[in-house]
């Protein structure tokens, strides 16, 4: 395989990892858009999504009598997204809604509390050991030009992520609820005065973001077949970085930020010997990129500079 082939292969590795970050980052950015706070429990919704997939698979296999193929995988994906959407709505309703009028710092700390609650509840219920995730789709190598060999699962993850992003942009740009979401993020008071039911829109935003995180959880478990109660911590943190990198509150920015972090991380590992950075520094890379970009463009890549209102 020539150098280009290897580069393309690493690019696919990076993009498939990046799509998982992107899917989670969208939830951070949408919630920030409507409520102006960081939902730190979001990474753990990703974890719940993966566990939901695991258990749906366990229940579905005897029910359908076969190991699910592509259709079964879609069913599990949809089921897990629905479960997490409900979870996201419940979290907002129980933990954040009562604090809506309180200072944002209090909500932020509550979010950290919810995050810990989810992590340790998962540890209590599912046990501290890592569990294997079943193969939803049989992994095969797909050949291409230049000796390029990529896993079919990576391509599936990329394709379905693109589909989900398309669906999301349709919802946000073309539906009434999406319009209400944008109105709310533009000016909550004015939106409420214009008859937007803010509670419904906020619930919807949480549901939508959590469903995307669940999809990220399923994809992550497809590529790296292992689930554990704390799997959302690092991934969630990097997705948060991706959201800030793209400009927090900006939806295309979050997707772009996720892909950038996935690709750069992978490239650092792939070419660690050539650029002289040990591949063990992978996690640090995301944060270094963040610092560099924020130095040059404090509002993030696609973020708009908001003037401080006095």
């Amino acid at each position: 395989m020539d150098d280009w082939g290897r580069f393309l292969q690493q690019l696919v590795n990076g993009l498939s990892q990046g799509s998982i970050y992107a899917l989670i980052a969208l939830g951070y950015t949408m919630v920030y858009g409507v409520l102006r706070f960081i939902n730190f429990a979001h990474g753990d919704v990703f974890m719940v999504g993966a566990y939901a997939g695991l258990f749906l698979h366990r229940w579905l296999v005897p029910l359908l009598g076969v190991v699910p193929g592509f259709g079964g995988a879609l069913l599990i994906l949809a089921g897990s997204m629905a479960i997490c959407a409900a979870l996201g709505i419940v979290i907002e309703w129980l933990a954040y809604r009562p604090l809506r009028t309180r200072p944002r710092l209090i909500v932020l700390i509550t979010a950290i509390g919810v995050s810990l609650l989810l992590e340790y509840s998962a540890q209590l219920i599912f046990g501290p050991n890592r569990q294997p995730f079943p193969d939803l789709v049989e992994t095969r190598l797909v050949g291409g030009f230049g000796g390029l060999l990529v896993k079919n699962t990576q391509l599936i993850v990329l394709a379905v992520t693109l589909l989900l992003l398309g669906a999301l942009s349709f919802i946000v740009l073309r539906t009434r609820l999406g319009m209400a979401m944008r109105a709310l993020s533009f000016n909550p008071t004015a939106a409420a005065l214009m008859g937007v039911n803010t509670d419904v829109v906020i619930s919807f935003t949480f549901g939508l973001g959590s469903a995307l995180a669940a999809a990220g959880g399923i994809f992550s478990s497809m590529l790296y077949p292992q689930v554990q109660p704390f799997m959302g911590v690092t991934v969630g943190l990097k997705a948060f970085v991706a959201a800030v990198l793209g400009g927090i509150g900006n939806i295309p920015g979050a997707a772009l930020g996720g892909l950038i972090i996935g690709v750069v991380e992978t490239m650092v590992v792939a070419y660690s010997e050539k650029i002289g950075i040990s591949s063990g520094y992978r996690d640090a890379v995301a944060f270094v990129i963040l610092i560099l970009i924020l130095l040059v463009k404090p509002s993030g890549l696609l973020g708009k500079t908001e003037r401080e209102k006095v």
């Binding site: 395989m1 290897r6 292969q9 690493q10 590795n13 990076g14 498939s16 990892q17 540890q123 046990g127 501290p128 050991n129 890592r130 569990q131 294997p132 992994t139 190598l141 060999l149 896993k151 990576q154 992550s220 590529l223 790296y224 077949p225 292992q226 554990q228 704390f230 799997m231 690092t234 991380e265 992978t266 490239m267 590992v269 792939a270 660690s272 040990s278 591949s279 063990g280 992978r282 996690d283």
Partner: protein
């Protein structure tokens, strides 16, 4: 009203947990031993096994005559597999529970955190299965009952060379002292004795994506891959390697010893090898009897961590008996002078650096089970 009820519940819960603590805490009529283990978190399987072994030893002691005419109490603290937590819990059990000795940990990084505290407080510490040489270098109160990584790395390198594998790729977990050490000793022996390290790659604990590293390793075309980290990542590494068509055998150290290694990787783990402290296939009556008792108690097969946990508690008990006291200095000397102790994991003699000289076994994974291949003497 609601608040009052909540308050009452809180008090009740606090009282409840308080009582539970006192049960295992320091009491004059008990010899209290401390144990810290990763009962939860990334390497939970290590902590769970090690703790089960230790607990079994303590229960057997109490079923007998106890120690020095007293019952034996075990205070177990969970360090959640987290950096920093080991130091906290060990400090806690030394100062609050007044333990006379500390048993733990499996992971070298966490033993290295606790060792300076035990050394400072003059509490003898026995690590059942931390293999990084630095652990016992902390001071004379720290000992271990397993072999060390220079030996384990050599064993693995020798084994690879004897199989005719000349080109090795090394994949190291840079967050774990154990993995860094094992890789280093493997490389030293391997490259001095006719082998070549064709590529070195790193990752950090809790990484799940190894596609980038494995794509690079595949391009370097090695005969064998050393994955010197723990089972938590080794399973994923094997699976992802096989998925991209990288089918050369993989080698690992005792950090692979966990049932979840095969659960995660499935068929991808078949035909790989790792070095370990003991094999459950060993027909020695002592070992088979231990396996029978362990199965009766926990309804599962013991792994090496369980056997080492058991041995560590029994060696401590042996030292307390020989010292005839729990005085820390005398106990330290008694532990250090352990000789020819007939443990489950072999005859244990501590050398002048308080490391055990013991043979290692090489195991392979066949049909999802660990199969004995050979024993390598020190």
């Amino acid at each position: 009203m609601k608040k009052a009820a909540l308050f009452a519940t809180a008090i009740f819960l606090a009282a409840l947990t308080g009582c539970k603590r006192n049960d295992s805490g320091a009491a004059a009529d008990k010899v209290v031993i401390g144990e810290f283990a990763s009962l939860t978190g990334a390497t939970a399987s290590f902590g769970q096994s090690s703790h089960k072994g230790t607990q079994m030893a303590i229960d057997e002691l109490n079923a007998g005559d106890g120690l020095l005419g007293k019952k034996v109490g075990l205070v177990t603290e969970d360090d959640q597999s987290k950096a920093g937590e080991a130091a906290t819990v060990v400090r806690k059990m030394i100062s609050r529970d007044k333990v006379i000795a500390v048993l733990g940990e499996v992971a070298s990084s966490r033993s290295l955190e606790a060792a300076p505290i035990c050394q400072q407080s003059k509490v003898p510490m026995i690590s059942p299965s931390s293999t990084n040489p630095k652990v016992t270098e902390v001071g004379d109160y720290i000992s271990r009952i397993c072999f060390i990584d220079p030996f384990q790395g050599t064993v693995l390198a020798k084994f690879a060379l004897s199989k005719g594998w000349k080109k090795a790729a090394v994949l190291t977990d840079v967050k774990q002292d154990y993995s860094v050490g094992l890789s280093q000793y493997f490389k030293e022996y391997f490259s001095k004795n006719g082998g070549t390290i064709v590529i070195e790659q790193n990752y950090s604990t809790d990484d799940t994506d190894f596609n980038a590293q494995l794509t690079s390793i595949k391009a370097a075309a090695p005969d064998v891959i050393l994955a010197s980290g723990y089972y938590t990542e080794a399973g994923l590494i094997a699976k992802q390697a096989r998925q991209i068509g990288l089918s050369v055998p993989m080698l690992g150290g005792d950090g692979w010893d966990s049932p979840s290694l095969v659960q995660v990787a499935g068929a991808a783990m078949e035909g790989n090898f790792f070095s370990n402290h003991f094999s459950a296939e060993d027909q020695t009556p002592l070992i088979q009897d231990f396996i029978k008792r362990y199965k009766a108690k926990y309804n599962e097969e013991p792994d090496a961590m369980a056997a080492l946990g058991y041995d560590s508690a029994m060696i401590l008990a042996d030292a307390i008996k020989r010292a005839g006291t729990t005085d820390s200095e005398k106990l330290r000397d008694a532990v250090a002078s352990t000789k020819e102790y007939n443990g489950i994991t072999g005859k244990i003699t501590l050398d002048d650096k308080r490391n055990a000289n013991k043979p290692a076994v090489i195991l392979t994974i066949k049909d999802g089970k660990f199969k004995y291949v050979e024993t390598v003497a020190p």
